[in-house]
Symmetry: C2
Subunit: 382 residues, 2 copies
């Protein structure tokens, strides 16, 4: 299939691009290096050196023979976006092109404004480029489980039927996110839902949990093809941060009581979910929502797993609770439904001791590059 | 009280400014004439000539002795907004500063992009200016009943308690609007709700129904003080359009079957609601929602009322159904709760035959300026 990947330089974008190309799809990736720029500005560069998107595409092609096309530009520019969609007439667009850091979005006005402006504008432009240039195109949008927050009722897959005073209606499942970044995704969903209802667009909105993982089939052989592996408090995600702390010999830092529970997913499963969504697209007029997670785990449970994996490799890993820089519930009910992707055939990878130990070994090769000061919280919500 | 009115040149902004000044408040109005500019560009100018905001403030002061301060500028410019809030340290901000036309927002990409950009950016900036400059300030935001759409269950006042699989949680009442304009207000609500939860802002969000009316106490004596009275398909609202058609001797144009039911409110009540909200502000951390309507009426019921009012004045008013240019349900359940404002003391004005006849007489003075071609739908949703 012909597919455009918006945000193709990102932690998910690049591995997705390689995997789809290797599986025979025609892939054009688009990026403006926003994430790299912000990581540079905030002293949050990744553990492994990451060549430019163009350089990585060349390395990948030399190694595998598969082509990943690259276009560099800002998708907030509607003319640029629109010409891409017109010229390439993709069957699917995978839209990852958002400022991805929750802590960054909570730093202050400039960072909040950039996040708000970038994320909403790119989604808005994506909708209109498809409407005006190629209405059949299936938009696969990366949302987040964080859109739902941590409600006291079971989280259904996108929608909920409400019985109220003897009458019934089906609505989007109510969303109330905990950071501005996650809130921009709530707004994206509202916007997509409106245009889907009005103009019969085809959209799959993936409510994804935090992702972990370094390698995929395509990057295993060459570290220059690894995705951005951030371990700092701003662009790094929890599991990656813990692994780096374990290797560096500093305690894993749990925010507050550590009962914060989320749905996690391995980076390999993210890619599989995207391809399954491509093969079975949403119907015209359908906003299809999947809760894209493999399992739910608390921060304390993940810390324990990292301790065990460390033990296997000879690391004695400590865990330390620090004051929570975020405003979030540290103990709460959490029970999300996630059957949609399994019904499409997903066989999820779980966060086993072995998987974590393998990641830890990769991280250990870069031990000399670790700057542990970057891991501690530099952004507070208050 | 010290109050800033964002969008002070608008149909609601200007009458609100005069009324609050006459009731002893210190009023600064802010506008960039966006509505005037768009009305000019779309051949949608109001029935009565409307002097500039500065000219009207001078006319009002000469007539009444009350001062309405005026600042002209674009609230999308955060520096401008932030300095206003810092300098004036208002106790309340009344935020009307949004592109207000649903049909305009549905015209095409440029109009949709302008609406989306303007409305969201001004709300975002308003939140941050208050956060950074004067956190105690009460934001009174004009939302719309259109945020809810026309669900098959009773519409509660802002929130709903959902019982699901034996557990309970309170959420914002689900919103699904029928136009991009109304959707920008859904997004505003989501954004306000997030920042209220995180940083304890004080916000009142008014889910207002379509407004009708020409004069208020302050404008009755001088037509140069009337609000923008638009009767075209883009900036005019239903009741105003019907009255102009009645006076012009052309049939009232009902879109489709005319069963579309909404909650209506008189412009005098809008102003009273704003002042009541000012006197009893939302608490820190509270997003208080009022369904700001006086009564629910279908399009057919309003047409009948206009026919009756016309009869009193000697007009023989015809009614004609035309193909619906919008995508909306023409027969539907509609039962919104609206008790919050009554509990603050609102005694609503209803849409009586007398009220409509009085408006019709005012319109009749301007019969020679009516261009009936402007009333018919120029924007289609499809």
């Amino acid at each position: 299939m012909r597919v455009l990947i918006f945000g193709g330089d990102g932690y998910l974008g690049w591995p997705t691009a390689m995997a789809l190309a290797a599986r025979g799809h025609e892939v054009l990736t688009v990026d403006n290096y926003l994430r790299r720029t912000l990581a540079l500005q905030t002293n949050s560069e990744p553990l492994m050196p990451t060549p430019t998107l163009e350089a990585r595409a060349a390395i990948f092609q030399a190694a595998s023979g598969f082509l990943v096309e690259v276009a560099i530009g800002d998708l907030q520019d509607y003319g640029f976006m629109s010409r891409l969609v017109e010229t390439h007439a993709p069957e699917a667009i995978v839209h990852y092109a958002e400022q991805p850091s929750a802590p960054y979005s909570m730093r202050g006005y400039p960072e909040a404004a950039l996040t708000f402006q970038n994320n909403l504008t790119v989604t808005f432009n994506c909708i209109w480029a498809v409407l005006e240039q190629h209405k059949k195109c299936h938009i696969i949008k990366l949302g987040t489980m964080g859109e739902y927050g941590t409600p006291n009722i079971d989280i259904e897959e996108g929608y909920i039927e409400i019985n109220h005073k003897g009458r019934t209606e089906r609505f989007l499942f109510p969303r109330q996110a905990g950071t501005l970044y996650h809130t921009t995704k709530v707004l994206d969903t509202d916007l997509l839902w409106f245009y889907v209802r009005l103009y019969n667009l085809r959209v799959t909105d993936l409510m994804q949990g935090p992702v972990y993982g370094i390698i995929t089939d395509e990057s295993a052989a060459d570290s220059r093809l690894y995705p951005h592996f951030n371990y700092d408090d701003i662009f790094g995600t929890l599991v990656n941060r813990f692994l780096v702390q374990a290797v560096a010999g500093v305690p894993l830092t749990v925010y507050g009581r550590g009962g914060q529970t989320r749905g996690y997913i391995n980076i390999r499963d993210t890619i599989n979910c995207i391809e399954m969504a491509m093969f079975e697209p949403a119907q015209p007029g359908q906003l299809r929502v999947f809760n894209q997670i493999a399992e739910t785990l608390s921060v304390n449970e993940i810390a324990e797993k990292v301790v065990s994996a460390g033990k296997d490799l000879g690391y004695e890993v400590q865990v330390r609770s620090i004051p929570n820089p975020r405003k979030e519930k540290e103990e709460h009910y959490y029970n999300p439904t996630h059957t949609g992707l399994r019904s499409l055939g997903l066989e999820p990878n779980l966060m086993t001791r072995e998987v974590l130990a393998e990641m830890m070994e990769r991280v250990a090769h870069y031990k000399g590059r670790i700057d542990t000061a970057k891991v501690l919280p530099r952004v507070k919500w208050t």
